[in-house]
């Protein structure tokens, strides 16, 4: 199985300023890869390198098995720029028809179908599109030719929540069809529900690549129990995977890593009145990568 995106030692300096350093990464066919990092981390730099808008200082990359300089391969890529600019007096549907003409492979009615799904008005002149509409036009041109690889730079910025949901549905459909997605974001919440794997960049370096399903199992979870009578703290101390135990009167708060089994069994000795368990919070794991002492050892996968 050949990788859809393959980067090896990919490095970009803007003059003396670091954009990206020594990125080695493979994205496999059919996966949704979330590319995460704070602003200025190097996400857009990576994406522009993959699309040959800018040239690497060193290292190399292939996309869909071809060198990034290979122009023909771009008809098989759908791209949404991070700083999408659409100008001019052309109406949005004329612009989309032009893009479709050059790329080929856009089936009849496809543009209208996408416009309807995203609730985009395509009769507006490009220069007068609102931010949200602009982003929708950007998404339509990226998805319309059903490309083998979608590269989306901060795709959800400027979209209202309803449209965001529709967009995520579109991404899932792409994955179901066996096609590949690389999407960047600076918030995990935007990608954690669609991504199979996430890579984290910070300061121009890839600091971790994680499997989202595995991450979810490992993630910390905040749990609260309320009992019918006060409970002794000792009953909950030293349980495997249970941390930060705080008992106040008849209630217990703690965090668990992984399985809740031991905690449930300990709580069952008392009368449980009420229980609250939060969704696993992946964000917390990521915050540790974002901070200075990010463990380098986790690079890989």
């Amino acid at each position: 199985m050949t990788a859809v995106v393959e980067a090896e030692g990919l490095t970009k300096f803007y003059g003396r300023r670091k954009g990206l350093e020594d990125l080695t990464l493979q994205i496999q066919p059919g996966e949704v890869f979330g590319y995460l990092g704070p602003n200025g981390a190097g996400k857009t730099t990576t994406i522009r390198l993959l699309l040959d808008v800018i040239r690497p200082t060193s290292g190399r990359a292939t996309v869909l098995g071809a060198d990034t300089r290979d122009t023909a391969v771009r008809a098989r890529i759908g791209y949404l720029p991070g700083e999408l600019a659409l100008e001019g007096r052309d109406r949005a549907h004329d612009f989309l028809n032009f893009m479709a003409d050059v790329r080929g492979g856009v089936s009849r009615g496809r543009i209208d179908e996408l416009a309807e799904r995203l609730d985009a008005d395509l009769s507006i002149r490009m220069g007068q599109l609102s931010k949200g509409n602009k982003q929708k036009v950007g998404l339509i041109q990226a998805f319309m030719h059903e490309p083998e690889l979608l590269i989306l730079d901060e795709p959800t910025s400027g979209l209202d929540p309803l449209v965001q949901q529709e967009f995520l549905t579109m991404v899932r459909e792409v994955r179901t069809a066996g096609r590949t997605v690389l999407m960047s974001s600076h918030v995990l919440a935007e990608v954690q529900n669609v991504a199979d794997r996430v890579g984290i960049v910070r300061g121009g370096r890839l600091v971790a690549v994680e499997d989202v399903a595995a991450l979810r199992e490992r993630a910390v979870r905040h749990v609260e129990f309320h009992f019918d009578a006060p409970v002794p703290t000792e009953a909950f101390e030293g349980l495997p995977g249970v941390r930060d135990v705080v008992v106040t009167g008849a209630s217990l708060r703690c965090t668990i890593d992984g399985r809740p089994d031991a905690l449930i069994k300990a709580a069952a000795k008392f009368t449980v009145v009420h229980m609250v368990s939060s969704e696993p919070d992946l964000e917390e794991i990521f915050l540790t990568y974002y901070s200075e002492e990010a463990p380098r050892a986790r690079v890989g996968a």
Binding site: R48, L51, I54, T71, R74, A75, P81, L86, F98, V102
Partner: protein, 266 residues
Amino acid sequence: MPALVHKTLRDYRRSVIGWLIGISAFLSLYLSIYPSIRNNPEFYQQAALSKYPGPLKDLMGGLADIASGTGYLQTVVYQLLVPLLLIMFAMTLGTRAIAVPEEEGTLELTMTLPIDRRRLVLERWAAFALSLLAVALVTMVLVLALAAVGGLKVPAGNIVAAHAGLFLIALFFGTLALGLGAATGKRALALAVGGGYAVGGYVIETLGKSVDAISWLRWVSPFHYYLDGRPVFQGWPVGDYLVLLGATAVLAMTAMLAFERRDVGV
């Protein structure tokens, strides 16, 4: 027609129409007053010479024989003002090929189309050249018509030759602006350098005729190959025009190679 050429022509359409109207208005205004000059030649010749003394006269192309149809056409249309207007138009379009969309940020999406960079520059250049050709052709027909109506008595073949030169000099400077924009991505720089070369080149060619210190520089001025053959008087200066055309081709090729090499939008 390639889709990108077609789309670019559509983008340029309003600008083409606007400049066409402007230049046509200028031509109509100046060529329609010729009959009154023809009827009073000594007065106007004197007036012109006293209005532009010394070097100014050279800058205006000598003002020889301004009351004759040929001299008038040369001075008013082909010497300075119409080339200036057409060059400004050409340079504006030239920067709109790469530099303007790059600064606006719209070039990024265009570049991710399956069109390689050289072809992108070439197709944008073709759209620019076609737009310029359209303006040149329409204004040429207008000059031919106005010259006939106003009784300028200039052979139509010479007007066609002079207008071809006008097209070529504007094509040269537009291609220069396009190339500077393609090489640097900076509109202001392309306009400043291109405009500076145009103004400097014009001054060197016109003043260089009588100022020996700069006369050796005339061969680097594009205007030398436009003005020196005096096509309104003498018909096609084929060799000079081929120099302009060749220089334009070299610039267009350099533009493609320069754009091929660099980062876009940084």
